[in-house]
Amino acid sequence: MSWMQHLIIAPILLPLLTASLMLLLGERHRPLKARINLISSLLGLGISVLLLLWVQAQGQASSIGVYLPGNWPAPFGIVLVVDRLAALMLVLTGIIGVSALLFAMARWDRAGASFHALFQIQLMGLYGAFLTADLFNLFVFFEVLLAASYGLILHGSGRARVSAGLHYIAINLLASSLFLIGAAMIYGVTGTLNMADLAVKIPLVAEADRGLLHAGAAILATAFLAKAGMWPLNFWLVPAYSSASAPVAAMFAIMTKVGIYTVLRLWTLLFSDQAGASALFGGDWLIYGGLLTIACAALSILKAQRLERMASLSILVSAGILLAAIGFGQAALTAGALFYLVSSTLALCALFLLAELIERSRSANELALDDDVDSLPPPLESLHPPKGINLDDDLKAVVGQVIPWTMAFLGLSFIACTLLIVGMPPLSGFIGKLSLISALFNPQGLGVAPAQPLPLAGWILLVLLILSGLASLIAMVRVGIQRFWTPQERPSPLLHNYECVPIIALIGLCVLLTLRAEPLLRYTADTAASLGDPQQYVMSVLGTRPVPNPPALHAGAQVQP
């Protein structure tokens, strides 16, 4: 129990230490750094899985792990909290991290400086943002993950990347300013930044101050929603993500989900239905903002020609679906949304990785597209080394690593990704969308007649869920026909083992999610139920006592003058 509690801080410390170690190693020793990075990422994933199992094993009553890093009681000191939602996001981050890293180890980590150190700092920011239970630490971890992402988005350099990176950084600096203004206003009204304490204080806020509180929360939400990709705050996302290098874009598949996670976490805590006059504040904004996001992204996906662009737009579609589903504030819908989140994040990560491999064979033939970005440099090495020779790190020829069935592999993976993103049976995307639709019609569960008929927003969400799937299907099928079925003399791309393993693993996980959907659905249902009851969270956080000083040390300290 006690060592398990100390494990809560490990996902933050481990990447921090690894990153510092890599900075010490300097620019040389890349293979060594890659290996250290991989071991550390795998360890991080292992710790996340342990935390998830621990949270799940605790049972309903005390399913929240609280860690006081400074040994101060909760509203005064910093708190880290792992509950079901945080543990789920941690594991998802770990999986995405390992996959993106494996892919990068094939070629991309050579394309620029300090890739591995930045990668670990990015992981640290992500893990920290999911674990913290304090508004200001959330800001700090957001800045950590953003600082690393500024470096990573420029990885590989090139005109288009620097241009898109410039916009990305400016937008995020602006969003950070909004974050600070919102946090300061909330502090000014309530006098606390601890999320659990805020949940207690908000129903007690004086009526005269409530407008100020709501304004602060709205400004804070603007910052999060810009990160989550809600229309119209998402114009920066598509150029930035589609010009980032493949492993970085795959890593960024989880970045919009950070915004969605914080919205879900703060909204369910601060404006739960127990929050008095502020109950469910801004829910309609989430619903209609999410619906508009789906509509705009689904329309743009029809026009997209590059696969990277389609993947970025699919991120927006899934962000819109999640925001709209969360905005209803119903446990069943949130549970479905969380399942959909897991499945779509894994699928989008795989699609970003796959997109680069597929486009690699196209760009080798120099078939220009309308929306082609003019100058995205490929990784430094030539993509088409002489046949039968594959160069490893030490520039020695390694025979036997070239996979002969590349096009078959790419085609089958592309079909799997399409099915997952469109939400067609038999893969887990279908289960995600089905559970959302089923929750829309049966908010109390199957067999229980709903208390009121489905509101208009619910019908719109239902229609958009199906239409956005159709739009993605049309766009992806068109791209698939162009890339795979057009009879053209083209060299089939050479793939590295490291590039195939993460894609197979991610799609394999989605297949596993399909076959074993029930445990995850049950888990997300429990998560949604505990999110709907913030009292549990508040009591666990505020009830945690600091560890008393060991008596011997205490006595020793008293003896000294």
Binding site: V162, I169, A170, S177, L180, A184, Y187
Partner: protein, 114 residues
Amino acid sequence: MEEVIAIAIGVLAASGVWLILRPRTFQVIMGLCLLSYGVNLFIFSMGSLFIGKEPIIKDGVPQDLLHYTDPLPQALVLTAIVISFAMTALFLVVLLASRGLTGTDHVDGREPKE
């Protein structure tokens, strides 16, 4: 004093927003700087403004809220200053890289067509 601080924050934020909307990268970075100054002042003023009061407990001063100012916004603003400073420096590097690669200081990386 409240009026002076409020006007200062307003002027900083307004100039910052105007500059961010300008087409040259240098104007954008100056805008972001001014905006972050405004935000820092705003955080600082959220702990309510006092003259000559200690943020930490001092001998000889009665230990009640009337005689002390809130130390938390001061700690927060310190963190915010450091972070915004670092981010601005990073933005400056990207700005120079963009200038070097595109040969123009327009935010879109190319001059608008006449």
